[in-house]
Symmetry: C2
Subunit: 463 residues, 2 copies
């Protein structure tokens, strides 16, 4: 904070965030157009790497490539790491091998694996060749883990010490080997001679204790052990539950093998949240910076399935073409039944998918939740079928029609409510993602039950 | 880790997580039934507070009250803090004033405010009375901040030092005042004599540097300043963007006033994610542990609005009753038009709401996103209107009907795609939550446009 905030306010009166951003983008564009690397660097270095990455991402893709070619081996690695996948890949493609190798050398293993992953196989091999044997093998081990596993999330760099060390010895050691320490860390892991994890001492505990205190005495046990093959979603759950900032990763033999930090976990949390939201809305993946074609590709599959399911509903209606032909009020009212049923089902589905994601449904709470959804569907069904039935009565003055729509709606609500929780629970039990496909199945069956019950009952009682 | 993981595995062969949980719940229930506080405490203390809270929450509400009455002033505060709002309130109601006051005394200010907030006004006043004047005023100041502001998220306890202090002085000071330090902290804030924030030194930087290094030289500037009245969503955004673990809160005069830590921010992130997901599905709030009545209450408003919007669609259909009477195929096909349009709109809405939440839509990216959604709606519209039109042709062998449904679908897709991004952007610009009400408005207008265009075109060209 070396600028006076008040004079800054005076110098930039009433610029909106969008205007400030537009100015900064223009400045960056000018620098790129100038063709002088130093000017571009100057602009980028005025900003935090995350902000610089944001600015670059606003530019058209061609300007990104241009910047990468212009800067070459001077492209700042911190900015590169902050860029979104597809933009980062653009830059990585344009950078010369030697610079990339050098950049990767200086990174923690999780970031190094990230950049290596952006490369084509043969280029990756060339760059890996430039590492010393031990380092190369370690990187290869990290990259062998499943993409969504703790092994990929973790970094190989951490700080560990034997339990007989004192606080003073740990601090002295850290000072002497400052360069070798990970960029960021929050705790020191205590290990036995076989590198097995015994506990953890957070840095604020180090600070709180006298130099003479042995680590073995002030360490805390590590409650939830993370193994390298644990799913990243489970890692995120453990971090949230125990309010962790970092956590050790321990292999099958109990040996400390890596460390996961909260910043990466927050990214996982956001990724999982995005996936659930999109899955429930039938989007397979998306990004505000996607192209028209990739947007089309991420949405077309759901819509294609939907064409089929919509026609299934149409076929159900067509069974009752004669009934509709005689009572046109049915065509007018039938969308009400399925619209309300569909919405009631979507509500339950959203709550169930979220509860599953937050691990709130297990054992006895599951039974309670199914009971609650059933009762609530009954209650909503009663209230809204009576409301709809009354409106229908005042519109068409036909008691039988009103009774038919009330019964059909109640049936649809019950189905919607129960399937809204049972479908995701079943998918989860089968090991599938409860969010994906839940809503297709729910909305299709709600349509079928809605049309079938309404038009079927009408055929029996109104004709 | 003082247990041997292998012997544990041998002792508990093949129990599923649900079975382990059931066993633990049974143990806790037995202890409560025994009526002996020590037994309950023993069971609770076997677990991490977060796990103990989870176990309690599986019990029926009456058992929670019973536990609180049984334990009284021995109810473990860490477990209390980990409990969900409504369960925590149950316990707080059953605890005697003196114990509650004592528990609050020992907490960081954010947790203290949380518990105080659970109380009725007069009980809150009684408990606040028990504090010393200075402490009381500080708590009152925290509680005066808006519920979703940084002021509420932050704690008043942090570690600050003048810039001329060395690493050695800071460490010595921390050791001497170990008891007064916050429970958890990750950095030391550097301040001037007027308590204005100059920078921050993370604990791992303290560890890395020699005792003689002055804090003023090793500190990092604080890029994104958080003020007490900043919305918690903005705080979460800053934490994610800059990969923060903690951040100082600075008041209007530049004085350091509090500290926000990542564990609270992760809760905010999850809260905001839940809100967006539920808002898009028309649920006002929910919890897997809700009662039937509160479930009904959280869903009924949307369904009530939906009754009205569904009847608006019915009225649109009723304009064309005569047309449907003559061509019953229209009644059979019309749900296809609105189902596909509605789904295409929901996809766009989900992507837009998420992009807004992740701050990916600003200035020029907004224009690009609107263009992309428009083009993608056109592309999807063309592909799926041709598909539907072909299916309709093979079913009804009526070229005119096929052309009518194709045009209606294209119009509906274009409307759905554009309104899926423009509605949330407009709501955002008006300062409203882009997720709430977006889907009601979108689905209603899609229904109207779908029915109107399909039945209207049919009336003009098919009769």
């Amino acid at each position: 904070m070396d600028r006076d905030p008040e004079s800054e306010l005076a110098a930039e009166p009433e610029l909106t965030e969008d205007e400030i951003e537009a100015e900064q983008v223009a400045e960056l564009e000018d620098a790129i157009d100038s063709g002088r690397p130093q000017e571009v660097l100057d602009v980028l270095e005025q900003h935090h790497p995350a902000d610089a990455a944001d600015l670059l991402e606003i530019l058209p893709r061609s300007a990104i490539t241009e910047t990468a070619e212009l800067l070459g081996d001077r492209f700042p690695t911190p900015v590169l790491l902050e860029m979104r996948d597809e933009y980062r890949e653009l830059v990585v493609e344009s950078l010369p091998d030697e610079h990339l190798a050098e950049a990767i050398h200086n990174l923690d293993s999780d970031d190094a694996a990230l950049l290596l992953d952006d490369l084509e196989d043969d280029r990756q091999a060339v760059i890996l060749e430039s590492f010393k044997k031990g380092e190369r093998e370690e990187l290869e081990r990290v990259m062998a883990f499943d993409e969504e596993s703790a092994g990929r999330l973790m970094q190989r760099e951490f700080v560990a010490a034997p339990e007989f060390w004192t606080v003073g010895e740990a601090v002295d050691h850290a000072r002497e080997h400052a360069e070798a320490l990970p960029d960021v860390f929050f705790e020191i892991y205590v290990i036995d001679p076989a590198f097995r994890l015994l506990g953890a001492v957070s840095l604020h505990t180090i600070l709180r204790n006298q130099r003479s205190a042995p680590l073995g005495e002030i360490m805390q046990p590590v409650r939830a052990e993370i193994s390298p093959d644990m799913d990243q979603e489970d890692v995120a759950y453990i971090f949230q539950k125990y309010d962790l900032t970092s956590a050790p990763v321990v292999d099958e033999s109990g040996r400390l093998t890596g460390m996961v930090t909260i910043d990466d976990v927050v990214d996982v949390i956001q990724e999982e949240n995005r996936e659930d939201l999109f899955a429930l809305s039938g989007v397979s993946s998306a990004d505000a910076f996607d192209t028209v074609l990739s947007t089309f590709r991420s949405r077309a599959p759901w819509l294609a399935v939907n064409v089929l399911t919509a026609f299934v509903a149409s076929i159900v209606i067509s069974f009752f073409a004669q009934t509709i032909d005689q009572i046109v009020a049915l065509a007018i009212l039938m969308p009400v039944v399925v619209a309300l049923g569909g919405n009631a089902g979507s509500q339950t589905l959203a709550v169930s998918v979220r509860a599953l994601a937050e691990r709130e449904l297990s054992g006895s709470t599951t039974r309670r939740a199914i009971f609650r959804e059933g009762m609530s569907a009954l209650l909503n069904g009663l209230v809204f079928s009576i409301a709809v039935s009354l409106i229908a009565y005042f519109w068409f003055r036909d008691v039988k029609l009103s009774v038919v729509i009330a019964i059909a709606m109640l049936a649809t609500f019950l189905w919607a409510g129960l399937s809204g929780i049972i479908i995701p629970l079943t998918l989860k039990r089968l090991g599938a993602d409860p969010a994906v496909a839940s809503s297709v199945f729910l909305l299709t069956t709600v349509d079928i039950i809605g049309f079938l019950s309404f038009l079927g009952l009408a055929t029996v009682f109104l004709l």
